[in-house]
Amino acid sequence: MSAVLATQVLVISERSVRRTFRQPAAIIPAIIFPIMLLFVSAGGLQAAEDLPGFPSVSYFDFALAVTFMQGAIFATGGAGTDLATDIETGFLSRLSLTPMSGAALVLGQLGGAISLGVFQATCYLAAGFIGGATIASGVAGVVVIYLLVILMAVGFGAIGIAAALRSGNGEAVQGLFPLLFVLLFLSTINLPLDLIPITWFRWVATGNPITYLVDAVRSLIITGWDGPAILAGFLVAFAIAVLGIIGSAAALRGRLQRT
């Protein structure tokens, strides 16, 4: 990365982070809802602990991984909605009149998504510890969870950015939210794959990339160092990030018509 591009990415990231953390109304739900759902589902589905083959002694520990996925989905909305607002208000035109490169715009916008993702992860882990969760993989596992969270924030943030650049309006970006939540519920968030009793659901969950992300985080929390699960999670997160960035770059070319 050239020095000019690095400076541009840095200042756009700085702005994105400032903007993100100056909108408490956007941050608080991204923190509160996943934690609230964690406690509600852990209370309501506690009986699953008695299922033969259930991988954890505590459903709370099992469900903790889901909060990180919900956080990633909020990152999609945050990064995309902010950029859509820039398009609607003309701020993107202002930036386009500077020597800013398209790559700097996308990477810089992701700065806000990453910072929000890291902040969310810290809150979810704190809530987990308060609720009595333990991380089977230890401190090193927590570091790996953060790395995966960052990669997920990049991937899902890039999807939000691509949607914003393609549509140019915040409502369209928000429209991704329910779609991603449907994907979330069609994964292994409530039960491990081999305990899902309905065949078609199990097939859908097997093909659903979110399953591998949830399972990777979950393995670090409840199993320890499960190499294949962690590797699969990182590969899926990486693939989503690459596709998201390619999609953003393509959408950017359509949006920025400057000569």
Binding site: R15, G90, L95, L97, Q257, T259
Partner: protein, 324 residues
């Protein structure tokens, strides 16, 4: 070569007529060029093309000596622009805007800080510089917008309807600053507006655009002189003497349409006739209730060239300006 040279510039959108239809114009170095027209006339589309944000469908243009299609980055480095609706981030402070924009232009360190402070002071925002823009008034946003446009010392400044929605005091302050930029710093200003008085007060030359075509171009005085002479409108104290009034006015100029109890003539000699008219009416015992001297305006020019009045003529037009 002028600071802005435009030849046969065209912009077509997929659906609808040509937003800009084969326009030619030249703006000299240091000149303030007023681009006047109703909403939807093609002003903003022209600005978007000249600022490289929108490629033209046909034609050529250079800005600060650079081709707007082939040398986009060089054009952008040479221009400053305050586009319609001050596009600012309400969550950032004025100073943070300066830092963001300056850094993207490659400015840094003491130079950026000093230039930012100077501009904030010049536009009267030093005290508000560390407040979030969400709390700024419309006038403050416009002034910050202007400061941002000037940050990297551009040679050509594009101002797209810079005073729309501003109170008279803020409008006047912005006019003063724009005039000073041209006069003292030699900045070329391309100003679009739908306010006649703005073009009249600021512009060295004016181009009037309607339906994507430049219908007339010249200095405000030339254009007004082209339309005609001053006129006077008089209302007698006693409405029954309207016919006497019209007869008394006849030697001083060409009669115009009588409205209600008021008679009007276009003056033969201009303002100099007024004293003689007053003496003539006094001699005939016609008491004047109201006398109004009216200079030709740019609206008269627009009316003459398009058959419509500029004031409110584009209110129902759809804005053709695309998003970036």
């Amino acid at each position: 070569m002028g600071a802005i040279e435009v030849r046969g510039l065209v912009r077509e959108f997929k659906k609808g007529p040509r937003a800009v239809d084969n326009i030619d114009l030249t703006v000299a170095e240091g000149e303030i060029y007023g681009f006047l027209g109703p909403n939807g006339a093609g002003k903003s589309t022209t600005v978007l093309m000249l600022t490289t944000l929108l490629p033209p469908t046909a034609g050529t243009a250079t800005v600060a000596g650079f081709d707007i299609v082939k040398q986009g980055p060089q054009v952008r480095a040479s221009i400053g622009a305050a586009l319609q609706e001050a596009a600012l981030d309400r969550f950032l402070t004025g100073r943070e805007h300066i830092k963001l924009q300056g850094s993207l232009h490659g400015m840094k360190g003491a130079d950026l800080r000093q230039r930012g402070n100077d501009l904030l002071e010049r536009v009267g925002l030093t005290d508000a510089a560390d407040r979030k823009v969400g709390g700024y008034s419309g006038g403050m946003k416009r002034r910050l917008d202007l400061a941002l446009a000037l940050l990297h010392r551009p040679r050509v400044l594009f101002l797209d309807e810079p005073t729309t929605g501003l109170d008279p005091q803020s409008r006047s302050a912005l006019w003063d600053e724009v005039a000073r930029l041209s006069r003292e710093d030699g900045v070329t200003v391309f100003l679009t507006t739908q306010y006649l008085e703005e073009a009249d007060a600021l512009a060295n030359r004016v181009g009037i655009i309607d339906h994507g075509t430049i219908v007339v171009e010249g200095t405000p005085d030339e254009l007004k002189a082209e339309v005609g002479r001053s006129s006077v409108e008089i209302e007698p104290h006693d409405a029954a003497r309207l016919a006497d009034l019209e007869r008394a006015l006849a030697p001083f100029g060409e009669p115009m349409v009588t409205r209600g109890t008021r008679a009007s003539i276009r003056l033969n000699e201009g303002v100099g006739d007024v004293a003689a008219i007053v003496r003539a009416l006094d001699a005939q015992g016609i008491v004047v209730h109201q006398l109004r001297l009216r200079e030709p305006t740019l609206d008269d020019v627009f009316l003459e060239k398009t058959g419509r009045s500029l004031e409110g003529s584009g209110d129902n037009d759809e804005d053709e300006t695309p998003s970036a």
